[in-house]
Symmetry: D3
Subunit: 315 residues, 6 copies
């Protein structure tokens, strides 16, 4: 009996037990008139079809997205592996599984990344922008370490927002050097660091840490407005001069670049203009990265929704 195996390690004939995510589930009837559950189970390594014969519940469609504990055997159907599940139940608070094993997560060391981000903030020469960032990071550190950067488009895995933010801060740092006579490094890095900071209020995050929906507040206000509002509040508490507060709010409100892509106002200073490109670059590079992982060399993808075009993987 295998314990704790990853889905992409399972082989024909294996008997195993472990925790998985119930990715899909439908109650069906066999031609012999018997009920069975047709399911898909997943972990961070992939997914596999599964059947629970002679089963009419209680696990059902309503439990999609939850963690299950199963005992099963790997069989074959139409040339593909599938699992015949012998025992199945929902996991509860007494079960001791590793979330990182079950869902995909960013290829980063979270502590290192968080530290690097804090160091970047500590390096800001402008004390006002630095203090706002420090306060905001303190308030939101817990969620910033954990949540994805999006529901599906890009960095939609655990710690995705931290990875996305840190990549952007690195690039912002390089650019503030390359265009040193045009940019205020403190403003650029502060804005980059905080641009998505209100995503924790915008998302509904599942028990497994993934984004499953947008909150009412998130849909009616958006993370740009919520983020700017909190910056305004913190800046006022810290006694930061109003122009700096306004500029930092402006960075957050305009970071989607154009009204038709969601900017509340258009970027009107060099730093906010640049922030919108940095965000574009990091999100697009991640989309290319994820898409090309699913392609053969020399192959085009189908149309990618977020890009509105297919993508090519060259050698």
């Amino acid at each position: 009996m295998l314990r704790g195996a990853y889905i992409d390690e399972l082989q024909l004939g294996d008997e195993f037990e472990g925790y998985f995510v119930l990715k899909d589930a439908q109650s069906k009837m066999s031609s012999a008139g018997k009920p069975f559950l047709s399911a898909t189970i997943s972990d961070c390594s992939g997914d596999m079809d599964a059947k629970v014969w002679d089963y009419s519940g209680p696990v059902s469609t309503e439990d999609i997205g939850k963690v299950i504990a199963i005992m099963g055997t790997v069989t074959e159907f139409k040339g593909a592996l599938q699992v015949t599940i012998n025992r199945i139940r929902l996991a509860d608070e007494h079960d001791n599984y590793n979330r990182e094993k079950l869902v995909p997560s960013a290829p980063i060391d979270v502590d290192d990344a968080m530290n690097e981000l804090k160091e970047a903030v500590a390096s800001l020469s402008d004390p006002d922008y630095r203090r706002i960032c420090e306060t905001m990071l303190q308030r939101h550190e817990e969620s910033l370490r954990e949540i994805p950067a999006a529901k599906v488009i890009h960095h939609s895995f655990l710690h995705g927002l931290l990875m996305h933010t840190l990549n952007m801060v690195r690039l912002a740092d390089y650019l503030s050097d390359l265009y040193a006579d045009t940019l205020d490094r403190s403003l650029l890095i502060a804005g980059t660091c905080l641009h998505d900071i209100a995503k924790n209020q915008e998302f509904v995050v599942s028990e497994l840490g993934l984004v499953t929906a947008y909150s009412v507040k998130g849909k009616l206000l958006g993370h740009l407005v919520m983020g700017a509002q909190e910056v305004a509040e913190v800046a006022a508490e810290l006694g930061v001069p109003e122009e700096k507060s306004v500029l930092l709010q402006h960075m957050i409100l305009s970071h989607h670049g154009k009204p038709e892509t969601g900017a509340a106002v258009v970027p009107m200073c060099a730093e906010s203009e640049l922030l919108s490109y940095i965000d574009m670059i990091d999100s697009r590079m991640e989309i290319y990265h994820e898409t090309m992982n699913g392609l053969q060399v020399g192959e085009f993808s189908s149309r990618i929704f977020a890009l509105d075009k297919p993508v090519y993987r060259h050698s």
Copy 2:
């Protein structure tokens, strides 16, 4: 010697003195090589060309927009009346002129209008929305009574914002009755009442009360975001439940209807959708009103910038 005459009352040969706005001014040289000032003077009734012969200052181009005291004679040039100014000086704090005589103002009784607006707020059945409105009106009553609703597009005269807001509240009231089973009257009227409340922070207002420019804060944040932010703050202070605060912020943030016309988020409930139409109707009707005033019956205007088309005045 006439005193206090309106420009549209002046007739050929009149000698007069009074206060006017220096609407335009250029220092020129006559063909005989003598300096003179070619100016335009205005009051709320219209404007007229004027000349100050043998004059090289101190009143000059830099004083455009200021109030001047003049003594002059009405003459004729190429078939039109013009003023030959005999004495000219800038007005200062010791001069005692009536601002309402000098610049256009809304055809409303300000006290009546303000009272009607307050009564509308007092009639809201929802105490939370009512208290937010009351607090916001108290805070901004002074500017709301005075400022125009825009720099040029519509209601760009004294008390214009109050006139615009009140018209919209009346219409909102009617519509909340017509669509009573779809709309929350309190939310609709509260949102309508507060939709432009942050315009006082968005405008730079001249000593005469007109909008001459936009503030830095106004350009970088916009009156939608500033208005929503203050509502959030007031709601928190009053202990209003978060959903109501969020809905009222959403009303303000979305009242421009579409991202490309400046909405920070798109309207997603019936009240916010409707607010954007009410705003459109009142601003457009005012534009038609002002445009048609300058047209003959049976005449088309030239292209109106805000409408991107000409307008027809029928009988």
Copy 3:
């Protein structure tokens, strides 16, 4: 045996007979190899799944949309009620059913609404516009009392066009008072009253009174052009001065507001501009009303086609 029950009144175990609409129907084969009909029946109160076992016709897919007479029993399947039909046949001209029971209809009293519309017309101070409206209403009263305002988007139920037109006329009346110095009340109300008058020529209406398709003429010319054409004809017959005829045609031709939303010409006077907003308001408020009826408090809808966005139902 229940007779004449509404679908939303049926309970488990009820035996009933009555007329319903065959909303959907598919011929299938059971796993035992026996043919059966899987159907959906509907009336104005809702719909329910139904099965006719051991049945191979003659009622089939081709009869979708027709009225059927059935005798059946209410059973349960997977936790939901469904009907086991014992007898089924198509209704014919000898059957005596009530159309209003079978399909949804506007929540208005048709006679009252029609009278109110006629009174509005009678109140027009301009005799030319009044006579055109009276003539047009006489010609089209029958269809105006009955047809929906659309195939699916809004007011797609019996008497929908009358409800839509009357709502708009009420609002036009209010607005012609609010903006009395900008608007010609007679022109505004006349244009509002007649704006969709040619929809009866644009639609193909089923025997049950619903719109099932667009006519050839409707697609090739559109109800704007057809409506304007008939107004031109009636105005000429009545000897109305050309400018009034042209203005009223212009109201109808431009009431979709912008070329890209179907306006044949853009609105160029205050009344036509306003008509396009009034139409927008009434159609949108109905869409919100219908959408929110299908939502829980606190829930967002999926994307609504006509709005290109989801809608939120707040408390």
Copy 4:
């Protein structure tokens, strides 16, 4: 003394008299304090600057566009020829000038062109479309022979509409042969022949035959809707079957191709789709022709308004 010379024939020192168009005129004051008229005179061959010294009227700016009789001498100023006018007066009904000499006109023989158009109509195999065309041509022959096709964009000269229509009919004839199994020749040619027939109602035409403005009716309804309306009327009078009337109206209503370029409905049959391209081709080729006439070989034009781009003249 030269009589009747064209402007492009005048040479330095010539004394001449004749009729010209007063293309521009401004009353000015010389540095010596004397009034003079600075004007531009034109005929179909070009234009030239002119001065009337010591002149203060009665010919003035208000007479721009009218015909004047002048006596003058050709002089030189800054290297260019100009006219010193000795006598000037407005022409009146007793003057006997040739309009074709004064304004540009299409390079066609009007009688030949009209006959060719009638022959094309006579060749239609469908008697219904043929009779509608014949009736419409009879009604409008006078204006069709004379008016331009536009105010400025293309074919804005005398007989321009006839030239444009005939070119298009020739091309339609060729295409109905090339795509014989897709097109109804009678419908295509009839629609082409009548597509702009209501332009005479859309234009305000000056005494010289050029388009100086659009009529109120033209702006509020447009020549598409007016043309379709008259076709509907004629078809009804002639007892033509409704589908043919509708198709021919559809041709006219949709010939601008897309809503954003002015189509009242979009083309939905092969003939209407094609008509929009034929119209595009003939108008664009004329624009290129006129533009290239003003260019050297190897030269680019400045941006052409109707094309939104510059044009190149190659060898």
Copy 5:
């Protein structure tokens, strides 16, 4: 036993054998638990459903698009004909079938069409453009005779590109006569002849001659750039003056008319502007032709993807 029958000739009860295209294939399981193949077979006359009972391979989904040899019987299912296949195998190089019988092909005589195209080229008065065309046609004659003009949109059958090119050259010839004083006939016809010449490099063509996909080069560069590049190369080899080479490249690069429809540069001379309309006309007329073939008189199509609207077939 019928041999070589077309699909649209088969009748109930026919026993037949022959070659067909395997248009679709899915391995399924009957309710009795036996495997069967559910397929669609096609030839140039149409397609028909087919079943191979008790069959588990080797012909399968992966063979879709290949030629199969079958022996079968025509049966009936739910009122439609279908084939019960008794024997099935993939065709190989020893099989001797006629490709033209299996896939649709253009209704032209290929030799005649090719000759007409060559004669058009031979008629060019400009020797430079003529020699470039002759060289390009020699290089690409084989593919130009064979390949479709597109994957699906229009002329997607054998010899489609030749048919499309020839139609366009005919129309270009007519137009260079109609607008003789605006157009350079040699440039227009040369550009028309070569506009799609690089499509053979853009397509992946199946063994049956149809376009099944786009090549990597085709997607990354496009046939416009590839065509222009080869023209530049050939022109250089032939010693053609640079301006002519540039103009001919410009024709090819701009023939999609607008950037948003794929033009690499916008047309800037009369010939390139016209080429884009000629291409539009021929492709659209073919789309209408193919669409109307599938419609009844009086019927509207569903929305046609390439037109973004439905199409009407009138009598």
Copy 6:
């Protein structure tokens, strides 16, 4: 007598001589009836108004843009400095002036920049991309060292293209490290290095080294297509595998990002997507840099054409 002074060094009363650019020139007449030349002179430090009294040539409007030798005195007019020119003539080949003194040039050391670019190329690990770059740089080194990057929008000074290209290569280098698992460094840097390489063929460059117009070839083909074409040629000569040649051409053809901003094809691999952002960043940062140089702290610019919005300069 000052010699060689810069314009921004001139002070009231200075007598000076030197070479300047004739930036503007108009022949005028004084009120006393005497001709004079009203001019503007410029060098790389700025410009100043100038007058040549009693002067009627030969220097005139036609010499705008040329270098002039002048002797003059600095006077004052309406509070601003202006030059009274005593002697003026066009410079010719015998004059020995320093071009860099006369026109603005990039703030870089050209040799250093060129070397850094060559080193970046030398560092490419892929020998094929490296050899193509080396060959292209050799061919174009002379123009790449000298020409601006644009006519007006950004980097429109001497050596501007080199500065722009080098900045972009630096950023590309950084990004190929940041996204090392997504990007092919050699392809990204090669494409960046060559993206504008054909601008020398696109521009008409004045004797002073500035771009004064676009070439015929440049307008009809564009620098994207010309650059890709030369890369194809060089790659073929060097025997580079086709896929690499195609990818590098694709980089150049797509670097404007979207069709509507001039891309011949859309970017379809990570490197081409990124190149379009790198180009955007460097051009936009330069626009902000140049714009802010002309602003006070706290001031907004007027609308910047290339950005379609104003820009703010904060402290």
